[in-house]
Symmetry: C2
Subunit: 146 residues, 2 copies
DNA sequence: TCAGGATCCTTGACATTATCAATTGTTTAC
DNA sequence: GTAAACAATTGATAATGTCAAGGATCCTGA
């Protein structure tokens, strides 16, 4: 019964570890975003914008009120990092799209997450593949009710 | 060359997956915190308070200005979830400690992270152990410069 | 020792992010 | 075609964030 490396970790232990990793990653992300004059929230929004997203969808992703998103997008749009586009099939909806500049700045933020990069570099190809496979199995369940 | 399950994932792919897991976990956490009348920030602070922590240390962990922490702790203290204690060896320092009620409420928040719990439940004992070991190796590098 | 610099926390002014209630325009269901 | 439902915005207000400045305490070195 080793206290340091349990053969079968408690769900609570695994949860705690996963939370710690998530927290550390967030610190890394927030610090990198600040270097580029972005607030954490602005960076988080840019990170979500792989494709066009309705305001409402953003609110759901950010776990916040829809009215909040209006102001956030206003500011990002004012800095030219984001654009509002009308939706083709529903005129109520406005789709948010990252501009080239927006995509570029978030790319640089991700590049600068040194702690995260450094940590991942300690994993060999095989371990990386194992971790990737496990996390990929976790992902759908985690995103279920979003 | 399978596009869905790469044998050796790119570092970028692994990074992206890790970020997605972290984001989903945060959503789960924020939603559970709201159920208990806590803002995300308040819950995040409570989650950090395993032991006494100086205000300054909290600011570092939250990646924010020290002055910000004053107000956050003021409100948590007003609700009886947290206490300020003088430091024994340095009278400038105030250590923040979670009260019994504070510990209880954050325990319940963690309990209610259903998406995360559900996702972890899909892993068998062996996979859990593997994931735990891999994440444990990642952790020190991620927390290095905090 | 004690003067200067550094550190910890707080305050005050202000920008950003969050909530809620109400409004407008549009869609959907009946 | 009307009523209910939904998307986004506005306005009011609270919470969170930054920065500059200040008081208290610690530390270092002449």
């Amino acid at each position: 019964m080793s206290a340091t490396t349990p053969e079968t970790p408690t769900k609570l232990q695994l949860l705690e570890l996963l939370a710690a990793i998530g927290t550390a990653q967030w610190r890394d992300f927030a610090a990198a975003a600040a270097h580029h004059g972005l607030t954490s929230t602005q960076a988080k929004v840019l990170a979500q914008l792989n494709g066009p997203l309705p305001m409402r969808a953003l609110a759901t992703l950010l776990v916040c009120d829809a009215s909040n998103v209006t102001g956030i997008i206003d500011r990002l749009e004012g800095r030219g990092l984001v654009r509002r586009e009308p939706d083709a099939s529903d005129r109520r909806v406005k789709n948010v799209v990252a501009t080239d500049e927006g995509r570029e700045i978030i790319r640089r933020v991700r590049e600068e997450m040194q702690a995260t990069h450094g940590a991942l570099d300690t994993l060999g190809a095989e371990d990386s593949a194992t971790l990737y496979a496990l996390l990929a199995r976790l992902r759908p369940g985690m995103e279920k009710d979003a």
